[in-house]
């Protein structure tokens, strides 16, 4: 009897020891790590190409648009990388590789420079000048400002709102006061020219002022794996109407080639809605929400990660065409006349029957 008891106890002890050993064994043999290339020139190049290969979201669209072959880009650039090259030389090679994506959201951040693709606006007229903006807004005391939005009533009773960025959020109180100040205007101009974007939530908040019901304004999806075509199904983006005063009269949105990213999304949310007209130039695009990662040598790489579409499931990465194309006149700075604003004012006066 006693022998049997001791036998059972020894079995218990052995079980405990075995369990602990198994637990430690499982852990030690199961370290989850990432094989990252070394912080050499070659390793940094490899990591840059690989990060984009696994995370960038527009390979399919770029291949269709201009025949982008990412493997060919690797083969083309890899021979240029060697361990004796300087940081700046390596930066040039990596920046050149990034430029092949033709995407303003693909950036390489080093201590000495930021690689940014700019042909989507450099090759086009600016169609915006802050000198002209100052003429229309007037002196500092002539216009009001709320959460970064600068606004005033022009002399033909058209409200003008300059929205230079979506990097700061808008409070409901700000928008309510802005709407109240402009409520008696015959029309409203929202100027998002050279607005480089910021927070999508800020763009949605401003767009909500122009919507009376919960509205489907677009779709978004994301990558679900490393393959170029591994995506989730598109999920709808809805915007609830603003809870305060809303704008129900005609409005014009002013755009140029530097209307980008969240500002591009703002235009996508509202273009085609009743009473909304887009005037100016084609927007810059940038419909891939960017995420960031780090390269072995410490540089930061930013890339488009989550493609966004308009309500008709059209990609707006290459920009959104205006309803009314209008450029600034070549002598705009001499005359002090902003033809895009003037075109918008004319349209709004016409809508008001004046």
């Amino acid at each position: 009897m006693e022998s049997s008891l001791h036998h059972r106890l020894r079995t218990h002890a052995a079980s405990v020891a075995l369990s602990l050993l198994i637990a430690c064994g499982v852990l030690l043999s199961s370290c989850i790590t990432e094989d990252l290339p070394a912080a050499t020139r070659q390793g940094t190049f490899q990591a840059c190409w690989q990060s984009l290969d696994e995370h960038y979201c527009f390979f399919g669209e770029k291949a269709d648009a201009y025949g982008l072959d990412w493997d060919a880009v690797y083969a083309q650039n890899a021979p240029a990388v060697h361990e004796t090259m300087t940081d700046k030389q390596l930066f040039e090679v990596l920046a050149g590789m990034c430029y092949e994506l033709r995407d303003g959201h693909v950036n390489l951040y080093a201590a000495h420079d930021v690689a940014r693709y700019g042909r989507w606006f450099d090759d086009y007229p600016a169609n915006y000048a802050d000198t002209l903006e100052r003429i229309y807004l007037g002196r500092t005391e002539d216009y009001q400002t709320a959460a970064g939005l600068r606004y005033r009533i022009l002399d033909d009773n058209i409200g003008y709102v300059r929205c230079a960025t979506f990097e700061t959020g808008f409070g409901s109180g700000n928008l309510h006061e802005l709407m109240r100040a402009l409520a008696l205007c015959d029309g409203l101009i929202i100027d998002v020219r050279s607005n480089g974007g910021g927070m999508l939530t800020a763009a949605q908040k401003l767009a909500s002022v122009f919507l009376d019901t919960k509205t489907l304004v677009g779709y978004v999806r994301h990558k679900t794996g490393r393959a170029h075509d591994a995506f989730s199904s598109p999920e709808p983006i809805y915007i609830e109407p603003f809870e305060g005063l809303r704008w129900t009269k005609p409005a014009v949105i002013l755009t140029n080639r530097r209307t980008y990213s969240a500002a591009n999304a703002f235009v996508a949310y509202l273009k085609g809605r009743a009473g909304i007209t887009v005037v100016g130039d084609v927007t810059g695009g940038g419909s891939g929400m960017p995420l960031s990662t780090e390269l072995p040598n410490g540089w930061t790489l930013r890339f488009s990660a989550c493609p966004m579409y308009d309500a008709q499931m059209r990609l707006t990465e290459e920009g959104i065409a205006p309803d009314v194309h209008q450029d600034l006149a070549p002598d705009a700075l001499q005359t002090g006349r902003d033809d895009i604003i003037e075109r918008a004012r004319a349209l709004l006066r016409q809508s008001a029957g004046r």
Partner: protein, 269 residues
Amino acid sequence: MRSKLLLALIALAAPAPAQTATAVGADSLHTVRHEQYFGIGRTNSLDTYLSPVEYVGPSLFLMHRTERTARWGKERVAVQATYSGYAALPRSKADDDPAMEAGINAAVAWLYRFRPVARWSFALGGMAEAESGFTYLVRGGNNPAQGRLGLHLGATGRVVRPFRVGRQWWEARAQVDVPLVGAMFTPNYGQSYYEIFSLGHYDKNVRATHPWNAPSARLTATLTVPLWGAHLSIGYNGEARQSHVNHLKHHTWNHHFIIGYVRTLRLLR
């Protein structure tokens, strides 16, 4: 009700009775063991949602553990509650900007105690735990941080060996906690937090965990010695929290030298 209230006597220096076979144990209904530790060490942090680069740096650690005997189980079952937290400032090899990382953990375990060999006390049981934490990278734009949240059931094993040094009882103790099954929050591979929290889009953001996709464990090994009327405890706490879900890899490896004290609350009815 008053009669059920317990009068507590903190016996910091009290040698354990011989029948408990531990220096500062909680082997009867009349004792509660408290352990309090402060630790300093190193954290290795990897989260491929943020970066494929591993961050390594100094970290601080706190742990409080309480153990008492359950009223059921013929005094063979102990109930143990463990609360711990850490904060770290790890850096990548190339970068001067540190990341910020922190985590907390709360666990309750039920341990069946037995002594197959004289002076050796073993315990084996199950545990339930909740853990949360975050990693923040200054350089991130739309993905500056990664949050962690998990609920797990697991196994706990412990061995205690008291021994005499001169006229004093010392105690060596080691405990391993291994989460086995549970659930954790994670974004999908390329999913932004904007999609999850601003738009409310769910895409496999709560995943089941098991030792094959989230092998994790914690080892606490201490030596407790009577010192100047108290019980000083020193040792090592190592913790590996890992996961590989939605094609995203994460690991937090914590190694901490810990120092603290143990006290036994003797309960008098």
